[in-house]
């Protein structure tokens, strides 16, 4: 085996001498392992759409990079960290996978980080949201692409205050995530000159939000912040609609809302909701062109997670193309050196803590009258510069930054 490796190495050195810059691709193939939720809670925001998005990135390269074919394997992690760890480990050990992609749900991303660290592989995180992925839990080869809870919360918090929403009331899911989100946003609201009038905790998960909404209504706050996610957010927004909260002049700020949630709620219910997004399909010609192609394949417009998966895979392949190697350290160094330039991000910077810093957008859900048809849901109110959304590198607590 060793002899074979040596032979292969010397052969590649010879080849390089001969042609100047020939491929140095391990096993002669660039293999990407995509782990996502195909059947559960996150299958709409991530799921099969992320596979399509990764395929679209690969197609752009014509299926080969640096002379080697690109292969994509995918699996349903069923939102279970142990299945993800098992699958990722197996891919890395026995199937020569070079990079893991997507990884929605933080517990999954963290489990795969552990595997990636041991096997020295790249992890391209798009779907998971937790900020610790580029703070305490960071690894040198773990790249967090699309967004994080800080950007969502902080983006919405400061932007809403700047728009005049200076008094807040929180509806918070009663567990660590909800509390962390509320704390993050409270800090930003107060720093921006707003004040927090109060908060109420609701059980996780909850289906009846009427009493919490009434409390929020009675608080007289201009903005009701939803420090929860998924089904809870959807139910809370429905309850707000029932009590006519938006019509009465209070605004709802969703801290973790996706385009597919708006699609599920319908404009009539969701109108007026403010949220931070990493991507919206109808921003410029580039995003429209890409999203149309995506729509033709899937029948849905892409979410930020899906667009982010495309961007991360594309940038990874670009770095391989530029270096002619799929060696982890070489590729990561190149990925950091090159700005991320595609329809998802312009001038995106990949920091040493693993954070990909790019602009985020504050959006408001349109009213049915403003919308021209299906998927015409959001109006971009403000572009949030990357540094503001993700915070400076000095703030990161990543030990290897």
């Amino acid at each position: 085996m060793k002899l074979f490796k040596k032979l292969a190495a010397s052969a590649s050195v010879l080849a390089m001498l001969a042609s100047g810059a020939s491929a140095e691709i391990s096993d002669g193939v660039v293999k990407i392992g995509l782990l996502t939720d195909m059947s559960g809670t996150y299958s709409d925001v991530a799921g099969p759409g992320t596979i399509t998005a990764a395929e679209m990135a690969i197609e752009e390269f014509g299926g080969t990079v640096a002379g080697a074919p690109i292969e994509l394997v995918s699996a349903d992690h069923q939102n279970k960290a142990d299945i993800s760890a098992n699958k990722a480990r197996q891919w890395g050990d026995t199937e020569q996978v070079d990079a893991f992609a997507e990884l929605v749900t933080t517990s999954v991303a963290m489990a795969v980080f552990e595997v990636a660290k041991q096997q020295n592989k790249i992890a391209l995180v798009s779907g998971a949201a937790s900020s610790p992925l580029t703070n305490d839990a960071c690894i040198p080869t773990g790249l967090h692409w699309t967004y994080n809870t800080r950007a969502l919360g902080v983006g919405t918090g400061s932007a809403v205050v700047a728009e005049g929403g200076d008094s807040w009331f929180f509806l918070t899911a009663d567990y660590a995530f909800g509390e962390a989100l509320q704390n993050d946003v409270s800090k930003v609201v107060e720093a921006a000159g707003g004040k927090v009038l109060g908060s109420v905790k609701h059980p996780f998960p909850a289906s009846d939000f009427s009493s919490f909404m009434l409390q929020a209504q009675a608080s007289g706050a201009k903005v009701i912040g939803l420090a929860n996610a998924g089904g809870d957010t959807i139910n809370a927004i429905k309850a707000a609609k029932e009590f006519g909260i938006v019509e009465a002049g209070q605004k709802i700020a969703g801290l973790l809302v996706f385009l597919s949630d708006v699609h599920a709620l319908g404009l009539d219910t969701a109108q007026g909701l403010q949220m931070t997004v990493s991507f919206y399909w109808d921003m410029n010609d580039e995003t429209r062109e890409w999203s149309r192609r995506f729509f033709e394949k899937t029948g849905k417009m892409p979410t930020g997670i899906q667009a982010g998966t495309y961007s991360s895979v594309r940038h990874y392949l670009k770095a391989i193309e530029a270096t002619g190697s799929d060696d982890t350290d070489t590729v990561v160094a190149k990925m950091r050196e090159m700005p991320v330039e595609d329809m998802f991000a312009h001038g995106g910077v990949l920091r040493t803590d693993g954070r990909m810093v790019h602009d985020m957008y504050l959006a408001e859900v349109k009213s049915p009258a403003d919308s021209s048809g299906p998927w015409d849901y959001l109006k971009i109110v403000r572009t949030i510069p990357g540094e503001e959304a993700f915070g400076p590198l000095s703030e990161s607590t990543c030990p290897t930054k």
Binding site: M38, D76, D82
Partner: protein, 307 residues
């Protein structure tokens, strides 16, 4: 003699398996086989349908994870602490639950397990939604490096075999016989002078401890403990494994666990990826409707009738 030969063949297969099959997958299979066998001890032999076994599995997973990561205990001790804590939790839940029968017993265990789940989701030491990650594997007896998957496999195999042997011993002992008697006719067992509450409680605690042993071992294998382990889905999954393999048989739960874990693992990256829960559901319905004794139970019945 025949039986002995059978055990030898199974043991030889288990020893040779990692040469052919991916060891981490095999370890997961073993852990779930032990979990299902522990569950079968009270459902199959004691007739008690617990709907809260995830609390023991997940609880032990968290506690041994914490013991290994934060307290820095040696691997064996960490697993032991996890299993024992599951036993203590089993004693607490069992004392309350065994006073009731049937559906009430199931509901009490479910309610208790949900309370445990709530504690796990809101305690800082479990990492909440993110799970407890990066648990070190350490060394076995301070000698063998467990970061090697092969070594880890044999370590897990030894633990699980010990667990299986304990269960088999318990089932075939006088204690197991009394337990079966209680299952079949509680009043008659009581009239014979047996203190049935004591027997039930002992079986419950033993089952909880072994479920905990499985959970703790799994934490070491995957180096993580997550909410999945403590969620009520897990309690349901273990019922499914036991019924599918064969209720009240020694090998049944292990076979059932093997089927479920294999399906979860291999369907995940095929064309059926989005359909894993549906496939499992269809299998369960088919099993309950057409072969109620489970795979091993039906096989045993077939052999009994044919010979």
């Amino acid at each position: 003699m025949n039986k002995f030969l059978g055990y030898l063949i199974v043991l030889a297969l288990a020893l040779a398996a990692p040469l052919v099959i991916y060891p981490v997958f095999l370890m997961k299979l073993l852990c779930f086989a032990l979990f299902a066998s522990a569950f079968n001890l009270i459902l199959g032999y004691g007739g008690l349908l617990s709907f809260g076994h995830a609390a023991f599995f997940g609880g032990a997973a968290y506690i041994s994870g914490h013991a290994l990561k934060v307290w820095g205990l040696p691997t064996e001790l960490g697993i032991l602490v996890g299993a024992l804590s599951a036993g203590v939790l089993g004693l607490a839940i069992g004392t309350l639950a065994i006073r009731r029968q049937g559906i009430y017993f199931a509901m009490i265990t479910l309610a208790m397990a949900q309370m445990a789940y709530f504690v796990f989701i809101s305690s800082p030491f479990t990492g909440g939604e993110n799970g407890l990650q990066g648990v070190p594997r350490g060394t076995a007896l301070g000698l063998i490096d467990l970061t090697n998957d092969r070594a880890m496999y044999y370590f897990v195999l030894a633990i699980c075999l010990a667990g299986f042997l304990l269960i088999a011993r318990a089932v075939h002992s006088p204690f197991g016989q009394v337990l079966s008697a209680i299952r079949d006719n509680e009043d008659r067992a009581r009239s014979l002078g047996y203190d049935i509450e004591r027997y039930k409680l002992l079986a419950f605690v033993l089952s909880a401890t072994l479920a905990g042993l499985a959970g703790a071992t799994k934490t070491v294998v995957f180096q993580l403990a997550s909410l999945t382990d403590a969620h009520w889905h897990m309690s349901g999954e273990v019922v499914l494994m036991t019924l599918l393999g064969g209720l009240g048989t020694i090998a049944g739960p292990a076979v059932g666990a093997g089927i479920i874990v294999t399906l979860q693992n291999y369907l995940a990256s095929g064309p059926l990826a989005a359909w894993v829960p549906v496939v499992l559901g269809v299998i369960f319905v088919t099993c309950v409707l057409s072969f109620r004794r489970g795979v091993v139970g039906e096989l045993r019945e077939f052999l009994r009738r044919s010979f």
